[in-house]
Symmetry: C2
Subunit: 337 residues, 2 copies
């Protein structure tokens, strides 16, 4: 009797659990190592609009030619699609420009995680002599000389005196809106079984079962940990970036890089911190061998690439911002001086 | 009797004429040397959308970094706000980048008019070693390698084989939409007497009566003729541009440049073909002395500048285009090679 009751209870529990799971799968993402991205509703639309202008404004650079959007081009997956970026005076950048899309989900910013958040990151390139080559002081002086910005900072921050802190806060607020929901894979996660083809689904299963999800997981499918590139086999590159070691000073952190997001990976070529890999095919092959000790067959590679291409979401959609004009007091850009 | 009938007829004619004039002034621009800009309705919206993408696409340059929008930035009055532009490998451009806004109204393109229309112009920078440093052949090869473009060219031009002719036709179609109606001055021209302040109107009258309209007239307030810079007094510059002479080979055409449009002139600093003049105040002063032999007083200068600032119209308003991604076959950009 006791056993029968227990079995009956067990069946009831299983039944309830079953209903629970069905209910869940109808409304919520399935129990997968990857979660869908949710659209962001801007908390402070005025700040986002101001940040958008600053993001597109080359006057925050010494030359007056390079803006955030130059290397994180929102027409091109939030990246520049170059191996490494072009900086002031056509300097060759040291590392591949990571996409700004979904970057708010990263545990830290830059490949080596040296900035704790988007606000801290935003100040970096402005003052980096190899990138925008300006100073925070001059960036503030430029913004303060532009009547349209003065009015907008007043409106958003309630201040007459613009600060670099306000500038980077606004840029970060804009960047936080740059998420890409509604990818085919997210639709599948949300319960639309027709959103993926058989091939794409097989690619996802292979991606999951091969261990790729050990690092590429969560909403951003990456960005949540630092990992060593070249875990099983060493990664060979002429690129001098040391990764996390440059921040921590610890030898153990050499070649530890932030795992990049795979969201929109079809748009963010070329790949890896050195941008040396042009195609998803090659990227999958190298990751399999170097990180997992696994040689994917051509057929397997095709399936995983087919899955990766389902990760392209709705790109941020907004009107090209019109920048407030300089005044006679605005310091002149110095592209050649 | 005969005379009385004739006088009566004359009065009737005057009366009818009066009604006619009133009706005209309510609906049409007044009889002024400057005409308002009319909004453009795109004849072929698909072609305009394609051209917009191409206009923003840096893959039409050798580096993969410079697009039409780099030097004709639609966030910044269709110009780059630099003295002279930055080209491939950070080369210093020879001349100030003219605004693309309302450029369809120009009698010819470039400062020296060497391109007869926007289509011909669009091909220039792509292949100019000092600008985008590409070739037409490579630009076509890149476009042809991008499936999204192949589909769009097929849709718009009905062809599977993209040509430089189709590329520049599409870019020109987009540029033709870049007009800026509804400036305060245009509202005044259309009969809204409150659109200008007393000061701005006084500035316009001074502009007109001083002879500025001899060159700056028509809808674009310029762009309709070539004129010598330094007519009364020579214009001193270290800039080597020869103007129209470079096209015609005639010595008489030295320093003959296309008269720039004054539409949106508050946004298109710095001024003149060499970009050596930063402020409207200085530009008005120099133009008065060199072209008209007239020294405007400070008060007059202020009035004319106030008028010029009423020429900023509605800036083109559209969503930032999302570019179709490259394929594995797309030739790689060569920023440093």
């Amino acid at each position: 009797m006791g056993i029968i009751v227990k079995i009956q209870n067990f069946i009831v529990i299983l039944f309830i659990l079953g209903i629970g799971i069905s209910a869940l799968s109808a409304e919520s993402p399935m129990n997968e190592p990857i979660q869908p991205i949710e659209a962001v509703v801007a908390e402070n639309p005025g700040m986002v609009e101001l940040g958008k202008k600053l993001f597109f404004d080359p006057r925050l650079s010494k030359s007056g030619f390079i803006s955030c959007n130059s290397c994180h081009n929102l027409s091109m997956g939030g990246s520049d699609n170059l191996k490494t970026s072009i900086g002031h005076n056509w300097q060759e950048g040291p590392i591949n420009s990571p996409t700004v899309l979904n970057s708010s989900m990263n545990l830290a910013q830059f490949w080596d995680g040296r900035a704790k958040d988007l606000k801290e990151q935003a100040g970096g390139p402005i003052a980096n002599p190899g990138e925008m080559a300006f100073t925070h002081e001059l960036a503030v002086e430029v913004a303060q000389s532009i009547p349209g910005y003065v009015a907008e900072f007043k409106e958003v921050f309630g201040t007459d005196k613009i600060s670099i802190d306000d500038i980077t806060t606004a840029i970060a607020a804009f960047e936080e809106t740059l998420v890409t929901p509604n990818s085919r894979f997210d639709k599948w996660l949300m319960g639309d079984k027709k959103a993926l083809t058989t091939k794409q689904l097989a690619g996802y299963k292979l991606f999951k079962n091969s261990g790729c999800v050990a690092c590429h997981n969560g909403s951003a499918i990456g960005g949540s940990s630092f990992q060593k590139i070249g875990l099983i086999e060493p990664y060979k590159t002429s690129n001098k970036a040391e990764g996390r070691a440059a921040v921590t000073g610890r030898d153990a952190d050499r070649f530890m890089f932030k795992v990049p997001t795979l969201r929109n990976v079809d748009l963010t070529y070329p790949y890896f911190h050195d941008g040396e890999v042009s195609t998803l095919k090659d990227a999958v092959d190298i990751m399999g061998r170097l990180q997992l000790g696994k040689k994917f067959t051509d057929e397997e590679n095709v399936l995983i690439v087919a899955f990766l291409k389902t990760l392209t979401g709705d790109q941020p959609s907004f009107k090209l911002p019109i920048l407030p004009p300089s005044s006679d007091k605005t310091p002149h850009p110095k592209p050649f001086g």
